[in-house]
């Protein structure tokens, strides 16, 4: 072990001396995370983004009132701000002036159309500069429309085979349309599994740049070969495994130092909320091990440091994008969401997300196991290939 530590010590000294470690490992991720926060801080994360809506009820009927009631309920949850306006023109003017992001327009005759089973249209007027808010408004309207359609279907089903007066039918339909869904998403649980914007992007950037940082170590073996020092290392009275281990230790040390600096700096300079320190430390260590393993395989199959660097960059960017370093890909669902969990990035982010609601190591055992498994598999392959590569 001592020769490996000697080699790692030498490598660390060289990396710190040429400043590449500070630039790639510390400055770049901190800087990028800060930029991301500035750009996206208003659209992602808890509390940072609150769409402002106006509503005008030109209908005055039962169903229109029901929509207003739903919107007021959402407002009470703190997710939106809502204000009733007297006319469509007033609402549009206020949007033009930037007072509101979008306007819900309940047209005249809306309730009557619903109650008689005819199609009805709920209008959304949106600010062109607030597309996200308008999309959210459209989604709320669509959800309300689905509820109304379900109620209409229920009424038709209930009335099938019965003879009722048109007045009775309208009354039943009106009551049905005002019934709100009994199924709600539990907001407390959702919040507990989400990182705030700052933490999310710092974590994402840290993982993204971790792959560049750890490559310094494992690619060092190719650099030793290129600069002619590998024969001298192999001629020394140390095992070949010590040389490979030395490079792996270099990667681990660089990765852990880089992540630790980022975690601490982000905590105190940017207000990132990481959760239980021990659990975060274990997640960082597991992520660094996984990153070292992946980059070790790339280094092992490359012939030159340049080739390894290029391939590793492609791998780092691909895994970063797939793993959610830039965007919360997993929220897209489907096959893509499943694919993200092939990356240590996704497991790391999930682990931090699990910690966001409190708790310690027991909450992150699955991400830890997943990343360590990835580390063992890729590290084992890389180790075998690198040792065999000495014969080249």
């Amino acid at each position: 072990m001592e020769p490996a530590l000697r080699i790692a010590g030498k490598d660390l000294r060289l990396r710190i001396r040429d400043r590449s470690f500070f630039i790639i490992g510390v400055l770049a991720p901190l800087g990028l995370a800060f930029i991301f926060k500035l750009i996206l801080g208003g659209t992602v994360g808890e509390g940072a983004f609150t769409p402002s809506y106006a509503v005008v009820d030109l209908d005055g009927g039962q169903v229109g009132s029901s929509l207003v009631e739903v919107l007021e309920q959402v407002e009470r949850s703190g997710s939106i701000t809502l204000e009733a306006v007297g006319s469509r023109q007033e609402g549009e003017r206020l949007i033009e002036e930037g007072e509101f992001d979008s306007l819900f327009v309940v047209p005249e005759g809306f309730s009557a159309a619903i109650q008689s089973g005819r199609p009805a249209t709920l209008e959304i007027v949106g600010d062109i500069d607030a597309p996200t808010s308008t999309q959210i408004a459209s989604a709320i309207a669509a959800r309300f429309g689905q509820g109304v359609a379900t109620a209409q279907l229920g009424v038709l089903t209930a009335l099938a085979g019965r003879t009722t007066s048109p007045e009775d039918t309208a009354a039943i339909a009106g009551q049905a349309a005002t019934i709100r869904s009994l199924t709600t998403v539990a907001p407390i649980e959702a919040a507990s599994r989400q990182l705030d914007t700052t933490t999310y992007f710092i974590a994402g950037m840290a993982m993204f740049f971790l792959f560049f940082t750890v490559q310094f170590g494992v690619t060092g073996l190719l650099e030793e070969r290129q600069q002619g020092t590998l024969p001298r290392l192999l001629a020394a009275p140390i095992s070949r495994g010590s040389v490979v281990l030395g490079k792996a230790v270099t990667s681990l040390a660089l990765g852990v130092i880089s992540m630790a600096v980022l975690v601490v700096a982000a905590r105190f300079l940017m207000g990132a909320k990481w959760g239980d320190p021990l659990a975060v430390g274990l997640l960082v260590l597991a992520a660094v091990l996984a990153g070292t393993g992946v980059m070790g395989v790339v280094a092992a199959v490359s012939k030159t440091p340049e080739q390894a660097g290029n391939t590793q960059s492609i791998i780092a960017v691909t895994l970063g994008m797939l793993g959610g370093s830039f965007f919360p890909v997993a929220q897209g669902g489907g096959a893509l969401a499943a694919l993200t969990y092939l990356t240590p990035h996704a497991w790391f982010m999930r682990g931090l997300g699990d910690l966001a609601g409190g708790g310690g190591v027991s909450r992150v055992w699955l991400p830890l196991v997943a990343m360590l498994t990835l580390a063992v598999v890729t590290g084992g392959i890389g180790w075998a290939l690198l040792r065999r590569g000495f014969a080249r």
């Binding site: 020769p3 000697r6 080699i7 030498k10 000294r13 060289l14 001396r17 040429d18 600069q227 002619g228 020092t229 024969p231 001298r232 290392l233 192999l234 001629a235 020394a236 009275p237 140390i238 095992s239 070949r240 000495f390 014969a391």
Partner: protein, 314 residues
């Protein structure tokens, strides 16, 4: 016998794909002996010493250094070897002292003894005053000297130098050769590969001529010359009756051939130095006035040419 040898490599073979790089090489080096491996680029020199130093696994054959077997899995036994690779094996962003310290520690050296040895080596290689400068600021010759210094640091039993003067200016080259001569005089066994005939002649007690992975011949310079039947040449510049003088020279016992060309007489002989007085006396008696004399012994270049049919630098 083998117990006295510092290096005994037997039957080394190595193939890379279709290329049989080394094909049955035997090398032995005794204590205090400087052994040269002379051959052109691609002859198999570096592959041979890579197997001897335990860098490369041999397809077959064995290597014993200081009585212990060497292969790619050897660890402690490698401490007997000091390797100076052909390419510079130093870290440019470390100082000379830091390079020496790093490699010294890999060889188990530490503390005051390491510091003392580093100071000694820096003196030997003439870099004591630049010890703390980063090596990327060094000249090519200084880097070469440090490259050798690292190989010497742990006072190995066998020092292997793989073409240490390639790309070096004449002054640094001479300094390197002097260093090797000093080490040899100090009793260190040296295995020296080169494609420079002059270096092999100057440094080596014995030389193996290698080409296409095969040792063509091995011995002292004189043994190699005799082996291929090359003769010494006495070049006599003279005036007067050169034909009569030629005939007189040819009559000396031991002279193989004598010819006249452009105011000079060329005399071929096995041991020219011992025949020289008599040859000169006969030439003078034959009616020629001698103006200059030169004795030219056949060199390893000629031997190599004879053995392989090509020049060393081909």
């Amino acid at each position: 016998m083998s117990g006295e040898l510092v290096l005994e490599a037997t039957g080394l073979r190595k193939r890379f794909g279709d290329n049989q790089a080394v094909n049955g090489v035997d090398i032995s080096v005794g204590p205090g002996e400087t052994f040269g491996l002379l051959g052109p680029n691609g002859a198999g020199k570096t592959t041979s010493i890579s197997m001897i130093a335990g860098l490369l696994a041999a397809d077959s054959g064995s290597v014993m250094v200081a009585g212990r077997p060497i292969n790619t899995r050897s660890t402690d036994a490698k401490a007997a070897i000091g390797l100076v690779p052909q390419d510079l094996a130093i870290y440019p962003d470390l100082s000379a002292r830091e390079n020496l310290t790093f490699f010294g520690r890999l060889y188990g050296m530490k503390g005051p003894s390491l510091a003392k040895r580093i100071a000694e080596v820096l003196e030997v290689i003439g870099l004591a005053d630049r010890a703390n400068d980063r090596t990327k600021e060094f000249s090519g010759g200084m880097k070469r000297r440090l490259n050798i210094g690292i190989g010497l640091l742990h006072q190995p039993t066998l020092l292997i130098l793989d073409e240490p003067t390639v790309g070096v200016d004449p002054q640094s080259r001479n300094a390197i050769l002097e260093s090797v001569e000093q080490l040899s005089r100090a009793g260190m066994a040296v295995l020296y590969t080169t494609h420079y005939m002059e270096e092999a002649e100057r440094l080596c007690d014995r030389v193996a001529i290698i080409d296409q992975g095969v040792v063509k011949a091995e011995g002292t310079r004189r043994q190699l010359v005799e082996l291929v039947g090359e003769a010494d040449r006495i070049h006599i510049t003279a005036t007067g009756d050169l034909q009569a003088a030629r005939a007189a020279a040819a009559s000396v016992s031991g002279v193989l051939e004598a010819t006249v060309a452009d105011h000079s007489i060329e005399v071929m002989a096995g041991m020219a130095s011992s025949l020289l007085p008599e040859v000169l006396a006969r030439v003078a008696a034959g009616g020629a006035a001698i103006t200059s004399v030169a004795v030219i012994e056949p060199n390893l270049e000629a031997v190599f040419l004879h053995l392989t049919g090509k020049a060393l630098r081909d």
